[in-house]
Amino acid sequence: MSGSNSPGERLARWIIFASGVLAIGVIALIFVFLLRDSISFLQTYSLVDFLTGRNWYPISEPPVYGLLPIILGSLLVTVVSIVIAVPLGVGTAVYLAEVAPGWLRELLKPLIEVVAAIPSVVLGFIGLTLLAPFLQQALGLDTGLTALTGGIVLAFMALPTIITIAEDAISSVPRAHRQGSLALGATRWQTTSRVVVPAALSGISAAVMLGIGRAIGETMVVLMVTGNAAVMPTSLGAVLGPVRTLTGTIAQEMGETVFRSQHYYALFAVGLVLFIITFIINWIADFVLHRFQESE
């Protein structure tokens, strides 16, 4: 009864097929749902005004839904967190996988994974009560609730993901590559930087992408520490001022809107924009990675 057409075999195939279809189906449905409600909004409001408008006044009369400052706010916070988290995370992963003695690695890895389990609201609380006042004083700002504050807390949130996955990728580079490099007269550092890290690059990129995904989709932290002012960031100096993000906007306003009002549908359109941005980032990363692997 163990042939490829036995009932057990067929059942297993069917279950796997069903779970695959279910996963893809759910994503497709989310997209369709977002699209449908976004179209309801865009039938009553111009797409160009929505994407390029510089003011977000949803409850004034008439309401103005200019999303540009919020899109830029999201990107600004994300960029700050990437700039902090990627070098720190990849560096830590390299240290753990290549430099740290075995006992230290065994001690640090579970600790880092515990950090990933801290609820974001707790991190937001720490950001709000410790980091924000500190940055306000240290940099002499009007308020400590800024894009920088949000970026730092988000970076801290993304770090465990980046470190854990990048460390796995680096550790799984075959020992034969390291030996080959060392036997050619390379130092440990040359071996790490020229053979091991390039060989682990696809895994490291996946780690970074997941980290970025976590940062751009995070809501609670940015709601608590970025100040939530839909101010147009016009220069790099905006990093030190309050911003508002796409996620924060939806979370904050959804509870106050009238069901199926224009404002309600506008928030779905904001969700769609967030979805598309995430999609584009993934696509670019995939493309860059592919190009890189081909040139290898």
């Binding site: 075959p174 034969a176 590559h177 060392l182 036997a183 007269g185 390379a186």
Partner: protein, 259 residues
């Protein structure tokens, strides 16, 4: 340097942790000759290779006793830089281990470590090394393709070319053909034959016909009782070891009675 002693082992013993893997090995490797080390698995053949380029230092707690001398210099003395030693002593591993890079970048890896950056200089080295390893004709039109797409035998010759590009004096080979088919094995053996005029080659092999075909000198190693360290039982010109060995154990092994 012809026929002179390139690498000398004097009363060398070796420990992995508390386990004594080698005992009192004294052996001279002649310059510009191929020396084969034969013997059953676990007798310490590969360990001897590791001691000559100090690769065992990457494997945790180990200890070496005795002296290993290369060109009159103890390679374990403090003044010897292990990185520099390894650029003088190349190694070919059991399984081909090209880097996941292009063919060109694999061969250029060693020269680049030494700071050679000019494209023309690197191209010259890559071509010369690939020709020496008898791989040039097969890959000259696809140097920018990934080394991982080559066949096993081509990968192993690429690894030889990669080692030659560093211009070593000694080349260690740890069962270089064990993962290869007979045709690829033949090509590697031809390559070894062509290289021995310029390099001192030490090869570990399980294949006695191979050792008889390619080596000038042969050492037979053996663990006599389980748990004992490996010892060098007999060493001499390959012709003598394979036709009239002095020791009974050697004869038993080469005639296939055990191992």
């Amino acid at each position: 340097m012809d026929g002179s002693k390139k690498v000398q082992l004097k009363d060398v013993s070796f420990y992995y942790g508390d386990f004594k893997a080698l005992e009192d090995v004294t052996l001279n490797f002649e310059a510009n000759r191929v020396t084969a080390l034969i013997g059953p698995s676990g007798c310490g053949k590969s360990t001897i290779l590791r001691l000559i380029n100090r690769m065992h230092e990457e494997m945790g707690r180990t200890r070496v006793e005795g002296e290993i001398i290369m060109d009159g210099m103890d390679i374990y003395s403090r003044s010897v830089d292990v990185v520099e030693l390894r650029s003088r002593v190349g190694e070919i591993f059991q399984k081909p281990n090209p880097f996941p890079k292009s063919i060109f970048d694999n061969v250029a890896y060693g020269p680049r470590l030494k700071g050679i950056k000019k494209k023309e200089a690197l191209e010259g080295i890559v071509e010369r090394s690939l020709r020496q390893a008898a791989l040039w004709k097969e890959v000259k039109d696809k140097l920018d393709k990934s080394a991982m797409d080559l066949s096993g035998g081509q990968q192993q010759r690429l690894c030889i070319a990669r080692t030659l590009a560093v211009e070593p004096e000694v080349i260690l080979m740890d069962e270089p053909c064990s993962a290869l088919d007979p045709v690829a094995t033949q090509q590697i053996e031809d390559t070894i034959d062509a290289l021995k005029n310029d390099y001192t080659i030490i090869i570990v092999t399980h294949n006695m016909q191979q050792a008889a075909r390619i080596s000038d000198y042969t050492g037979f190693m053996l663990v006599q009782e389980t748990g004992e360290p490996g010892r060098l039982m007999e060493y001499g010109p390959a012709g003598k070891i394979f036709t009239m060995p002095d020791k009974k154990e050697t004869e038993n092994y080469i005639t296939g009675r055990f191992g």
